[in-house]
């Protein structure tokens, strides 16, 4: 018998995504982004994102159906990001998803965005090993998660205590005069710079910090250190070696991310590491993670670039797994929860 056809909706930040999957097979991944509208403001403006979601949601549903060559009537279940994310943005997706469920007479699952980032890897690399460790890095998140059951048992091992990794990229890009979003530009500049030119601080890695924040992250001090270094150059009337600053900054970020991820895997006896989220597209993060995972005997799984960023496919992938494992659908009155804990996979 065919596995169920699941349509997933994502609207937690600035991408309006609608994906369709059957089992672990991706059939459609339609995404509209409002990123360009946020660029003049150097970060996501919630009201602009929410307005864009409303305009994009119906066209993305239609586009996903045509990509997958399926009719909405053939969809067996709806999954939607219930949280965490921007409240007003989440509510557009939740409203549309509930209307779909009502009009189709099909069950709906309000699911966790972070779990979606992990589940999406099944579309590329097949069934997720459980337990596995997940490192989620993007403009909105920096999480280390222990995934015992992707549909119901996820434990947070660490989180950022200030800025998200992607946010640090955006802020450093801005002070170097590079465009928003900063990640791809810094990655490109770094390619021609030296990662050891400047010794930028590694947040929360001192012995004292490791006691309390062993698997947590902090990128705010790093951003300030980069700003100080650049200002000192300006004051001295010397040119700023942008490529070296980018390479050294990037090395500080990915060093901490990979060091802590591998440490967590070894500490908890977990042999599989999934890295996802927008920053997972970063070339240096991928390379260093590969190197350190191999050395530690940890298997690494990184979904391809367009699956790492926010999209509907990840929500459909999680929904598909949730349906396959026979979890109860959500009641129609579930809320959009901007701070939904990662332990709540299905509301």
């Amino acid at each position: 018998m065919n596995q169920p056809l699941v349509l997933g909706i994502e609207s937690s930040c600035d991408e309006t995504g609608v994906g369709i999957v059957r089992g672990h097979t991706l059939l459609a991944d339609a995404v509209a982004s409002s990123m360009e509208q946020h660029a003049p403001f150097g970060g996501v403006v919630p009201e602009i994102a929410s307005r864009a979601h409303l305009e994009a949601i119906v066209p993305m549903i239609e586009s996903a159906c045509s990509q997958a060559s399926v009719k909405l009537a053939d969809v067996d279940a709806i999954a939607v990001t219930a949280g965490p994310g921007l409240a007003g943005a989440l509510m557009v997706g939740v409203g549309a998803a509930k209307a779909l469920a009502l009009a189709l007479g099909k069950p709906i699952y309000g699911v966790n965005h972070l779990a979606g980032h992990v589940a999406v890897d099944q579309l590329e690399h097949g069934a997720l090993p459980e337990p596995c460790l997940a490192l989620l890095v993007s403009g909105g998140h920096s999480n280390l998660l222990q995934v015992n059951d992707i549909t119901g048992d996820i434990v947070s091992l660490g989180n950022t205590i200030d800025d998200a990794a992607g946010e640090a990229y955006d802020k450093v890009a801005r002070l170097l005069g590079l465009p928003y979003p900063g990640g791809p530009h810094i990655d490109r500049e770094a390619a021609s710079g030296s990662s050891v030119a400047i010794d930028f601080p590694r947040g929360l890695t001192s012995r004292k910090d490791l006691d309390r924040h062993r698997f947590d992250f902090s990128f705010s001090g790093l951003k300030t250190a980069v700003a100080r270094w650049v200002e000192a150059r300006h004051r001295a009337g010397e040119p700023v070696p942008v490529a070296d600053v980018c390479a050294s900054f990037q090395e500080a970020v990915v060093d901490v991310l990979t060091r802590k991820a591998i440490d967590a895997a070894l500490t908890h006896g977990i042999h599989d590491l999934v890295i996802s989220g927008g920053v997972a597209a970063n070339s240096r993060l991928r390379a260093l993670a590969e190197e350190r995972a191999t050395a530690a005997g940890v298997r690494l799984r990184v979904p391809r670039r367009n699956l790492c960023t926010d999209n509907g496919a990840m929500i459909a992938a999680l929904g598909s797994e949730v349906v396959a494992r026979g979890r109860e659908p959500s009641a129609l009155d579930f809320p959009a929860d901007s701070s939904q804990p990662v332990g709540t996979v299905v509301v």
Binding site: P40, F41, G42, V45, E47, I48, S50, R51, H53, L54, I57, V58, I61, E62, L72, A87, G88, L90, M91, V92, G93, V94, G95, A96, K98, A99, L100, A101, L102, A103, L104, G105, K171, R174, L175, T224, A227, R228, E231, A232, L332, D333, F334, P335, A336
Partner: protein, 213 residues
Amino acid sequence: MLLALDTASPQVTVALLDDAGTVVAERRTDHLMKHAEQLAPLIAGVLTDAGVQQFDVTAVAVGVGPGPFTGLRVGLATARTFAMVLEIPVYGVCSLDALALEAVDSGAVEGPFVVATDARRKEVYWAAYDDRGRRVSEPAVDRPADVASDGPVVGEGAQLFPDHFPHAVEPLRPSAGWLGRAVVEERAELLDPDPLYLRRPDAVAPSRPKAVS
């Protein structure tokens, strides 16, 4: 069967009307706000109340505001998606028009009047109406002092600012039943199902990064 809904006020309201414009089922929320939670169950509720299925709905009417944005978008996303799935038309109606129609038909007003609702930030959303409840001005957002009126003022805005609107008249909030009636009886202008924001998003372009040392 027309499905009508409005989320332009703190109260979510849903109704089903037959082709003659008779309200066959209507529900409103007891809890204010929480539009994303409450709207879909209310729609399921009116379908059950009326003993019909979603396939029996032949058109959707939705209040397009003006009103607080977050709730407004939930209503519009719901109406547009529901209509898309069932391949039926979706009509937008200015939410203030539903208040005007109810005020006229219930005899609460005689002669021209104003409808004013709460726009937060010490402002009102408002429009002017003739004696039959036809809107004679574009919906706007203003400070109460700038649009003060001694005549009858329908809607929550009048109660919030009695100094500027001394003659407050019910109803206070739009009802989906009257919104639907406006469509069936062709007594309001039909609009695209797009939100009447009337305000730009709050967003300021960043200044140059501040020095840290």
